[in-house]
Subunit: 509 residues, 2 copies
């Protein structure tokens, strides 16, 4: 049986009133819904009641109603005359620190009809969540940050609606997965306490709000569902990712690594879920790198070494290169090591044929200026490479700490799932070669794309999934890495390619 | 025991977080509320969560929280640091077709700290509900009517807040009692179906909305409670009036007559409640009369015949007369009949010493121009008197029809309660003399003032009262007077003073 969608649409025949049955329009609608829904009460939005009378009469007592499952009740989002050809979409969003990805979903078929990724407009106030939280403490800082993300959300919505040639009114429910700090900044909650010991957020579970009340363009009756978080640093994006992967249902033990701006890692199975967050991974999103960018057309997403030991690449959409995105960065680092352009410490080798000198500094060339859309050589500099190595070290150390806490090692892990806004065709071998991933049988490693977005999508299409997300968030145990004595040691050891301790990477020796 | 208020305020000690207890601010608040509230869930407003983090830390984990009882849950309206001296008020409103009355109430003490009456700004679009509904069907008509009543509400709020020297943010819950058409126009519901057979409204029970979402100035977390109605013409104002009078709890049989713009009448006791509405009573609110006005300073509120058979009057506030309000109109009509200024058919007697000729037409003088603030003679014209007689006839006929349907007569009625925006000192004898009220023992007749407002006030102060209002609205049976074959006959017979059939008024013969 198909799971009951969070966002539902029904065509109803409502009984015609008469002097012997003068019940109000809304009572009549409730009566017509009773055989379809369960006995939970129906809470009408103001907009749905404003539309109700005209819709019933224009539709000659046949209407199309849109509802969402609100747990202990139903929300009546909107009512339209049955014959009107209005479009009703659900919007699933991964609201990331660096990028925001949205999908418009048709609730009946579950089809994704439009998909867009754009940068988070808050980037002008800082690359990572810490600098944003610091900015929020300035005068009007929180207001500016909130307005920036609202602008981004509304720009994303406008673009998606242009793609489908619809009005933002078509959006009848929104599900957002995002980290706790992004949720605070979106809702205007002061995040300052998240940044300070004991790192307590305002809320980890959010009420179902009105999208319009929050400042997001949508149908005035559209509810806003925000994924619940486990803590200030293990957010709703992690909950959504776990929902999408089903890790918490499996007997097998998994590791989920979300290579986003915050680099959350989760270890667990159906018996336990252990999570940490390392403020690591933003380099793999292109942050802080000269040519880093999101996986948009023109982004170099694949890099490899040819038979003649030269570097080759491919771009998203096959158009001239404009920058390099996450998957390209992982493969580039592996390819550099493979070709000898860098050594195990990440140091650029001035003697390599892939290395050019710019202002006396060695840089590894990926795409020469005559092939790019930007009229410059696309390279990685020493600083870029060091950033990437620091982030991969933090991620690897995080996994090691989680395993140690569960008294496990990588060999006990049945699968490692790498989530992030990059292609699922990424070369696993290169991720292991640089020590981003451990040296376990390669078939256990899967790149799963944007699992946070996948979780948001599955919640729109299943009320049961949404309920499950609540359980997942509540069952997550969060480790504070900075409080773990062995963390710094693990981190330092991982600052080599693949690692200081090569015994951990036997297949590479 | 004092009943639990709909609007409640508590001072809480919230546990201080530590690395061993990193629950979110909202979880901590819920924990602190648990021993105080019952186990119903707490639904936070967006505003309350925005304030929560700073309030807890500024208040050093001592906060003042404001909640309202929402039936199956609690609404968290706002959170303030405990030491901040913020004012929290509930606003009770009688939203009438002609006038809007508001009171600011202190939830703890139940004291009414400010009270104001102003005209409903929709008057420019028509005097009664029917003409307003007709206007609502014009292009942009509904929008204009809605904006007019929102402007009136916000003007009322501004005036009340000026009286108490507070910001509209202080208003933390609003309870409104109003007729069904006013509620539709306030919320932007199309009222057109109420005007046409079978007279069906969009809704008679309203969800608890956000005041600000609706367009009313208040704290952004303040909920808006609207009294439930029984039908399109027996509205939430009647429900509130019944709640205030307690008729539905008594073994004794009562009649409640609300002399407002719509003239609703209810007959009943704890076993039954029968209601009708006659679109009658607006003349007694001063509508359609040359010098009619609300009971504001300068309104003539008392009129009587002196020992020398002359007319005397008194004004609200003892200031020079500007017009005449409801109680003055009832007493004036009785005094005119008593002094011989009009005859039993209401015809003005040109030979009376109280009558002057203006442009050749006889008018009954109440206040000569040299005593008034308007520089003109305050008189009642023939047309004014005819309007009043039509309204009193409709009200009397309504009661007769209700009684006939219950197989009762006026002698079976234990009390008649007259509600309306006029003084409780009104002379009962004059109301009987003109046949507005039946000829029953005078001690059974009580003028109770604005019972709709009293109901709204009692709901703010008692969640139990609010629940009771839901039951009252559901238990009301509404008669459609125009569908009653005997109604027109009863109405015509009552167009005399006191009545065509003097057997009904034995004490006056």
């Amino acid at each position: 049986m198909k799971p009951a969608s969070l966002l539902q649409q029904y065509r109803l025949n409502v009984s015609v009133p008469s002097l012997s049955d003068t019940a109000s329009d809304f009572e009549r609608l409730q009566r017509a819904l009773l055989p379809i829904l369960d006995s939970r009460p129906v809470q009408p939005s103001l907009a749905s009641l404003q539309d109700l009378g005209p819709a019933l009469r224009l539709g000659e007592w046949q209407v199309s109603v849109t509802l969402t499952d609100a747990g202990d009740s139903w929300r009546l989002v909107r009512v339209n005359p049955a014959q009107s050809k209005v479009h009703i979409y659900g919007l699933a969003v991964d609201l990331g620190t660096t990028t925001v990805v949205g999908e418009l979903i048709e609730p009946g078929s579950g089809k994704v009809l439009a998909s867009r990724i754009i940068y988070n407009g808050q980037r002008q106030f800082g690359v990572d969540v810490t600098t944003r939280m610091m900015y929020a403490e300035k005068k009007d800082g929180l207001t500016e940050l909130r307005q920036a993300i609202l602008n981004t959300m509304n720009e994303l919505i406008a673009t998606l609606c242009t793609d489908l040639e619809c009005h933002s009114d078509a959006i009848s429910a929104i599900v957002i997965a995002g980290n706790t700090i992004m949720m605070h900044l979106l809702l205007g909650f002061d995040p300052s306490s998240i940044r300070r010991d004991p790192y307590v957020p305002t809320a980890t579970v959010y009420p179902i709000l009105s999208a319009v009340e929050t400042g997001i363009n949508a149908h005035p009756g559209a509810p806003l569902y925000l994924f619940p978080a486990a803590s200030g640093y293990v957010g709703g994006d992690v909950t959504a990712g776990l929902l999408a992967t089903g890790i918490s249902d499996k007997e097998a033990t998994s590791i989920l690594i979300d290579i986003g701006t915050n680099g959350e890692t989760i270890l667990g199975n159906r018996d336990f879920l252990l999570a940490c967050s390392g403020s690591a991974g933003s380099a793999f999103e292109g942050c802080g790198l000269r040519w880093g960018m999101a996986a948009q057309p023109g982004a170099i997403d694949r890099v490899w070494v040819t038979a003649s030991n030269e570097l080759a690449y491919q771009t998203v959409g096959g158009v001239p290169a404009r920058g390099i995105c996450g998957s390209g960065l992982i493969e580039a680092l592996g390819a550099f090591l493979q070709s000898g352009a860098i050594d195990r410490s990440g140091k650029v080798n001035r003697n390599s044929s892939q290395v050019i000198l710019i202002d006396g500094n060695p840089e590894v060339m990926i795409a020469p200026e005559n092939e790019t859309a930007v009229g410059e050589n696309l390279t990685l500099r020493q600083g870029d490479i060091d950033n990437l190595i620091r982030d991969k070290a933090a991620l690897f150390a995080g996994s090691r700490i989680l395993l140690a806490n569960a008294d496990l090692s990588f060999t006990d892990v049945d699968e490692i799932l790498i989530a992030g806004n990059f292609g699922q065709s990424l070369e696993v071998e290169q991720a292991v070669r640089i020590g981003l991933l451990p040296d376990i049988p390669r078939e256990r490693i899967h790149f799963i794309g944007n699992s946070s977005l996948a979780g948001a999508r599955s919640a729109i299409l299943s009320a049961e999934a949404w309920q499950k997300a609540q359980q997942i968030a509540a069952s997550l145990t969060c480790l504070e890495l900075t409080a773990e004595t062995r963390y710094f040691e693990e981190y330092t050891a991982a600052l080599f390619l693949p690692h200081t301790n090569l015994d951990l990477f036997p297949s590479l020796i």
